[in-house]
Symmetry: C2
Subunit: 310 residues, 2 copies
Amino acid sequence: VLLGKAITLIESTKSEHKAIAQEVIQQCLPHSGQSVRVGVTGSPGVGKSTFIEALGTYLADRSHRIAVLAIDPSSRLSRGSILGDKTRMERLSNHERAFVRPSPAGDSLGGVARKTRESIILCEAAGYDVVLVETVGVGQSETAAHSMVDVFLLLLLPGAGDELQGIKRGIVEMADLLAVNKADGDRLDLARLARREYYNALHLFPPKDNDWTPQVLTCSALEGTGIAEVWLTIGQFCEHTRPNGHFEWKRRQQARFWMMETIRAGLEILFFENPALRQHLSAMEAAVQAGEISPFQAAEEMLGQFRALK
Amino acid sequence: VLLGKAITLIESTKSEHKAIAQEVIQQCLPHSGQSVRVGVTGSPGVGKSTFIEALGTYLADRSHRIAVLAIDPSSRLSRGSILGDKTRMERLSNHERAFVRPSPAGDSLGGVARKTRESIILCEAAGYDVVLVETVGVGQSETAAHSMVDVFLLLLLPGAGDELQGIKRGIVEMADLLAVNKADGDRLDLARLARREYYNALHLFPPKDNDWTPQVLTCSALEGTGIAEVWLTIGQFCEHTRPNGHFEWKRRQQARFWMMETIRAGLEILFFENPALRQHLSAMEAAVQAGEISPFQAAEEMLGQFRALK
């Protein structure tokens, strides 16, 4: 209950809440970092929610404490966003060792991602030892999720051939683990074939700097098969990257990345939310689009005005 | 000769040159915009230089005035970069109606791209009516090139099957025109097959907002075949997108984009090149990476210091 309230505080847009939220995060920081952070992505229809419920319940039943967070930039449109439907994971939501939170709302992917990133710290401080970050395969949200997790899992549909084409190559490159879901019934052979094809395709990619070879598994979230193997492989990933230092290195890089991103976002807010500059910017935009002033000259003048305001 | 000197001025990093360069661009602006700007990209080995020489010579021989510019972020490493080798296009370089310029050097893709974008304005004001912007298939350089051209041409190698997988999907999506080069000798059948496969694959993509269906052609830059058809198709693209307003709309969007990008880059320079902030930033980075302070808290403190400097 307390965790939920703390996250609500983080998600608040009220400025008086922001300072308190930062203080809470700062207090939680020394108690954070003890979980395995797992990113889960895949195209719509691949069965992400069912998979997360299956994996989460499997782990919660084995004494793990599971937090499920989400990054869904479309959540700005309505609180009932693609990943916002908590009832989809009814069994897991009601589990005493699980915490399921829909995607925060926000005006930008950066804002949504930041809130999720902060929530991870709170969940860890609250004692959750596995944090699952679900994301939709839309825009740059996988990149955002990837920048805050230890292991990145890509769910795939069974079926052969040119499937990799339907998924952005960059996302396959990000994945540490691929799982062909819906490997059940009639689709079992197809799933095995897809697994082999993905496995072969992965060999075309250059090796990762963490010296880990991405694995391809099959599973059926519906029947609960292959879920144990996914968790086993996540464990192997950690055992592989912790001794070689890459696990910690990546977390440090991620922390640095988030600092830099927050600075960049903050600079843009300072500029673009200044009323005087905004007004001038509208006029400049019109002049630039009409070809009266070069975009570079216009930018220099705007920056000059910003400096003068200082 | 004057154009070359003006571009050298733009490329200069000396601050006294920068103000003059902006003045020159501003003077050229009313005389710019009258060319067709064509982006040319493709994997290394696809024959970009040979193709550009073939297309450029074809056009220059037909009274067009051709400027060839390049965006190659690797040019920061050495002036003799991948796209810097002017001698590769010896025939075109010596043509009286052609102007060939290697990629500007720069510390960042943004800087390199900006200089190329500015050079387009100068080339147009100097009367060049076709501007070819060559780019390497590395990192985000295609995106940068795409943001400054009217038509985007992707060169491909003959060969069947899974070739689209080797090219980032986003780049195929950007292309208005695909040309399978090296369609000569033994490779003619392969090239035709590849053309058909790309054509079929393109049908899987959603329609573009300019209502233009990307075309796939074959050509041989070596033998000079198919080059006329490429130019014809570029003409058809312009005839299609000019009446529906998309041609001009895209240019206005691009101008706006460059203003915004320049503002963002300028804000980062103001922050990250401030000596006091830089020193503090190093200390903060260490604290963040050690987990002593949250990345968000660190960013807020840095931004607070920036505001105080104002």
